[in-house]
């Protein structure tokens, strides 16, 4: 069980990826910029060295405002990328 300190840090963290995901929708917070955007992959920078990649088919960004992106489409996978380690 997560303790109170970790929970607060997680809630107010602005440099880490926070993703709410289903097979048809991905809600990503703390978006700094879109690194890559096609209909099969959307790569988003969340922190200084933190990236999130959504892979799937027919991907679209249904909303992009106030550091939050909502992606829709057929989502197949999500990856959290850090430059030090190629894959996490």
């Amino acid at each position: 069980m997560i303790d109170m300190k970790d929970e607060l840090l997680f809630d107010f963290s602005i440099n880490s990826s926070r993703v709410l995901i289903t097979d048809k929708l991905a809600l990503i917070d703390n978006v700094i910029r879109i690194v890559d955007f096609t209909d099969s992959v959307i790569v988003i920078q969340n922190g200084k060295k933190s990236y999130t990649s959504i892979k799937g088919n027919d991907l679209t960004v249904s909303s992009f405002r106030e550091s939050r992106i909502i992606c829709t489409g057929r989502i197949e996978s999500v990856e959290f990328i850090k430059p030090e380690s190629k894959k996490e």
Binding site: V31, I34, F37, S67
Partner: protein, 390 residues
């Protein structure tokens, strides 16, 4: 709801433009990847200048679609027939629900429908009147009182249609045996013609008769026995030359209502029971008359009347009339009086008008000879004897 634009961006590294727009607070939605060089998205119309500012000459911007209430209104404004159709539809619905749009009268054979309509109208039920402003039960009572020959009736007000169901009473002809009677003179005059259908002619052509004289007698003497009489109901027409004399005075100087030339325009508007008449509160004239030019006066689909009115001020001025004018006027007045006395059956055969001028008045004497029917029924009152009964 806000005004939105669907925009197609063409260029390289479009995601950089999207990042920039997001950092500037431009809300984007429906971002759809088409190809590496083409992305489509939806944004607020007010943000287009920000997009334009950052896109500059690096990206090609195409506005594909506009959405929002203002855009819809603009589009709708161009579809005049649709607007007219919607207004007409609403008008019909309003009319159907608020006003009487039809009156159906069923079951009339002998009764005149105009008579029934008149009773309805007097009670506030007519095409275009507001629904519910009447008492159906009171109308039914009034209908029974004023329209003869109704055996049963029922009034319905169903969705703007007033239905009047009437069952007429059946007329039964009861031929009564007429009592013996004379035809007597109702007016005095010189007999012109006697047409006796039943009874004995008691007067001759040219004979002067007074009021009450027997013209056609219902008492017929037995030819065999002159002491016996048979009594019949005398019938027939008796025409006589009657003389009517009238005197009247006319002022030479009369007061006439003339226009002063002061005028102001106004508007009359009626919608159902609501009436707006600008002459009611704008009019400061003491004496005036109103002329009206009706622009619209319809009952279907809505009871609307619009008129332009002109309020003309008038004043009373004295004017001396010429003798021919007075003569014409006096003759008309005399004929009106005569008409009241003789009704529609009389025929004027001679008229003589004499005018006598005094100080400020003219005295008129009119003598008319009229041929008219003067016969009237008078029952015979007699005592039966045993011999007569036999």
């Amino acid at each position: 709801m806000r005004e939105e634009l669907t925009i197609l961006i063409e260029g390289l590294e479009i995601h950089k433009l999207l990042d920039r727009l997001n950092s500037e607070g431009v809300a984007l939605k429906g971002i759809r990847y088409i190809s590496r060089e083409k992305v489509q998205f939806i944004c607020a119309k007010k943000d287009i200048h920000i997009i334009d500012k950052f896109a500059r000459n690096k990206y090609l911007i195409t506005i594909q679609e506009e959405k929002g209430p203002k855009t819809k209104l603009t589009k709708l404004r161009n579809r005049k027939t649709t607007i007219a159709g919607v207004i007409l539809f609403i008008a019909v619905i309003v009319y159907q629900s608020l006003f009487i749009c039809k009156i159906e009268i069923n079951g009339l054979n002998n009764i005149n429908d105009e008579e029934v309509c008149k009773v309805l109208e007097d009670n506030g039920v007519f095409i275009g009147c507001r629904r519910g402003n009447y008492d159906l039960e009171a109308i039914e009572y009034d209908m029974f009182d004023r329209v003869k020959g109704i055996a049963w009736m029922e009034l319905h007000d169903d969705g703007g249609i007033v239905t009047v169901d009437i069952v007429e009473s059946v007329k039964v002809d009861i031929t009564e045996e007429k009592e013996p009677q004379h035809i007597i003179a109702e007016k005095e005059g010189y007999i012109e013609e006697v047409i006796a259908k039943e009874g004995r002619t008691a007067v001759e052509k040219g004979q002067f008769v007074n009021q009450g004289d027997i013209l056609i007698s219902g008492e017929i003497q037995n030819r065999m026995d002159e002491t016996l009489y048979r009594y019949v109901s005398a019938e027939g027409q008796v025409y006589a030359r009657c003389i009517y004399a009238f005197t009247d005075t006319e002022n030479i100087v009369i007061e006439e209502e003339v226009r002063t030339g002061k005028y102001f325009p106004g508007v009359y508007f009626r919608f159902g029971d609501f009436v707006f008449d600008s002459s009611c509160f704008m009019n400061s004239f003491k004496n005036y008359f109103v002329n009206e030019r009706t622009l619209i006066d319809i009952k279907i689909p809505l009871p609307v009347k619009i008129s332009l009115i002109g309020i003309n001020e008038t004043a009373y001025k004295e004017r001396a009339r010429s003798l021919p004018e007075i003569e014409r006027y006096a003759e008309i007045e005399m004929l009106k009086k005569l008409k009241k006395n003789i009704g529609d059956t009389g025929r004027i055969v001679k008229k003589d008008l004499q005018f006598k001028e005094e100080e400020n008045i003219i005295e008129i004497t009119g003598i008319f000879e009229v041929i008219e029917e003067i016969g009237g029924e008078e029952p015979i009152i007699y005592e039966r004897t045993e011999d007569q009964d036999r």
